[in-house]
């Protein structure tokens, strides 16, 4: 429980966030893009 935030944890968190934010950006870009 007292473990420090590891580099692996940081990479895992940043990659997960990046994947989800990337997916959201891609989708909303497509939604708002005029045909």
């Amino acid at each position: 429980m007292n473990a420090e935030f590891s580099t692996g944890g940081l990479i895992f968190m940043v990659c997960s966030w990046a994947a989800i934010i990337g997916l959201c950006t891609f989708c909303f870009y497509k939604v708002f893009k005029k045909k």
Binding site: M1, A3, F5, G9, F12, L23
Partner: protein, 563 residues
């Protein structure tokens, strides 16, 4: 097959409505509890895999079945299953009745819980909650317990009842305005506010000194725990719950899509928005903060369950920080906005059933559903301590949604997925105006109808085979492990008792009696379906040709014109 039902005003409107339905207590409370009790960082990996392999494909399936329902001017599963089987199988519509049980059971308790959030937002804004927090965590637990057990009164009336009535009225007012003017407008306001409030909390949490320990618990990956099937099941269950799958909501909302409106992209965008709220807001705020404050007691905190964490731990945790009252208010306001968008989405399928199958006007539909929902909610309000909410949540919010999801996946893959568009068009089952390869199957033709983003072909096997198999395995393994003891009540002490209105009952006897009540509701629903689909009945008549298609507005306006 001309569609003269209501439809969404914009693509963004339907995306926000579906995302608003999905983003709820499951994201901000259930997800952190599941993560904390299933190994923290170890849980995220199976969660993300289930999100991609189960959640997104099943959302596409449900959207497609909803669109198929909309083609025929219906919005719920009884009629749609009846039509999918070309009106030749009498049992199909009764099988579809199972799809309406989750929203009925869930709304019986959801409105009451939604009212707790409103009350706690009020208590936070007025400073009452900070006063309670200052007296210690035990006092917070007592305050919450007294509130939900109706012991906190004003003028002899329990405060919980007053807040419930306000919440209930607010939900019904929104729904009485219809799909565009009510649901779509509410989501366009609530969703951006909710996401902004969530991001405010994320920024506050990430700037707390020592938050690394909290983030470590949530994000340090522990690959050794991935061998445990329990974690994989919990992750799949969480994906199901959080994305509102199998609850008839997406099905109903998608039935209001305009012809030629994109489906694949809209579904993916709503799923991505839900993932954002869950992983980034839900995964960053609650557990890391609770770990920071509660330290080694975090798993004990998580064992308090969703409500304990949300209504006891979090107010206390926020209260220990500078500007604690403001943070508490932001937290509960965010939850309330999440709650209202989810609550209206749970009720809408029931209104759709009244409007589309029984051909009630919207006013009559809202009145009918309000009456049923109000009576049902009383069982949750007064029977909370006796376990009625646990029963409703198990059947409506856990077991049946997986079962209904499995039926949907099978129908999509093995019924619609095996029929060619040319045959369906020849039989009048598929709209002639839908442009599709005649040799394409009905399932993917409906999914790709008007698509801005066509579904890549390599995803088809995942949707057709992986998804149904995943669901069958999930249902069987859940039944065999956690489900069976709950269903048979073998996990209940035979000597256990419950109290209701001051009288004591055996817990087992009371639970079976309550299940009998739920079964009677199921039978009544099927009587309504039989009435709607009797020869010459309202469902079979179809929409009156006198009802003109309206550009904007609700069906009441159409009815008024007809009158």
């Amino acid at each position: 097959m001309a569609n003269n039902r209501e439809n969404w005003g914009s693509k963004l409107g339907v995306i926000l409505a579906v995302a608003g339905s999905a983003v709820g207590l499951g994201n901000f409370l259930r997800f952190p509890v599941q993560a904390a009790t299933n190994g923290g960082g170890a849980f995220i990996i199976p969660y993300l895999i289930a999100f991609v392999c189960l959640g997104i494909p099943l959302a596409w399936i449900e959207w497609t079945l909803g669109r198929y329902a909309g083609y025929h001017n219906y919005g719920t599963s009884p009629s749609t299953y009846h039509i999918i089987f070309r009106k030749k199988k009498k049992w199909a519509k009764y099988l579809g009745s199972l799809g309406l049980l989750p929203p009925i059971f869930i709304i019986f308790y959801y409105g009451f819980i939604q009212s707790w959030i409103l009350a706690f937002a009020f208590y936070s804004a007025t400073g009452t909650l900070m006063d309670v927090v200052a007296q210690g965590p035990e006092k917070m637990t007592e305050f919450f317990g007294n509130y939900i057990m109706l012991k906190t009164c004003v003028g002899g009336i329990p405060v919980a009842i007053i807040f419930f009535l306000i919440t209930f009225a607010a939900n019904m007012v929104v729904l009485s305005f219809g799909v565009r003017k009510g649901i779509e407008r509410a989501n366009k306001i609530c969703m951006p506010v909710l996401l902004i409030l969530g991001l405010v909390l994320v920024v506050r949490v990430l700037t707390l000194p020592g938050i690394g320990k909290g983030l470590a618990f949530m994000w340090n990956p522990d690959i050794s725990q991935l061998a445990s099937p329990k974690i994989w099941m919990a992750a799949a269950g969480q994906v199901f719950f959080t994305m509102s799958l199998g609850m008839a909501i997406i099905f109903c909302y998608a039935s209001y899509l305009k012809p030629k409106e994109d489906l694949v992209l809209s579904s993916l965008t709503a799923s991505a928005t839900n993932g954002f709220a869950e992983v980034i807001i839900g995964g960053t705020v609650v557990i890391p903060m609770a770990v920071l404050i509660a330290g080694a007691n975090i798993e004990e905190c998580a064992k308090l369950g969703t409500f304990g964490l949300g209504f006891q731990t979090m107010p206390y945790v926020f209260g220990t920080l500078p500007f604690g009252g403001v943070l508490q208010t932001v937290w509960f306001t965010m939850l309330f906005f999440a709650g209202i968008t989810s609550a209206i989405s749970i009720i809408q399928p029931l209104i759709s059933f009244c409007e589309d199958d029984l051909k009630f006007t919207r006013k009559k539909s809202v009145t009918t559903i309000s009456t049923i929902t109000f009576i049902g909610s009383l069982t949750a309000i007064f029977g909370l301590a006796a376990g009625t909410v646990d029963e409703l949540d198990f059947w409506g919010g856990t077991y049946l949604i997986v079962f209904v999801g499995m039926i949907q996946a099978i129908l999509f893959s093995f019924v619609l997925g095996r029929r060619k568009v040319k045959d369906a068009k020849a039989n009048g089952d598929f709209p002639a105006e839908v442009k599709a390869d005649p040799n394409e199957n009905e399932a993917f033709a409906a999914m790709n109808d008007g698509s801005q983003l066509k579904l890549p072909r390599f995803l088809r096997p995942i949707i057709m085979y992986v998804c149904p198999i995943y669901l069958i395995v999930l249902l069987v393994s859940f039944t065999a492990t956690d489900g069976l003891p709950f269903i048979t009540l073998s996990n209940v002490d035979p000597a256990a008792t419950v109290e209701l209105f001051g009288k004591t009952f055996s817990k087992i006897g009371f639970t079976w009696a309550f299940r009998g009540f739920l079964f009677v509701l199921f039978l009544l629903l099927n009587v309504a379906i039989a009435y709607a689909w009797r020869k010459g009945g309202p469902a079979e008549k179809g929409r009156s040709k006198k009802i003109k298609k309206m550009e904007i507005g609700n069906s009441d306006e159409n009815m008024d014109k007809e009158a």
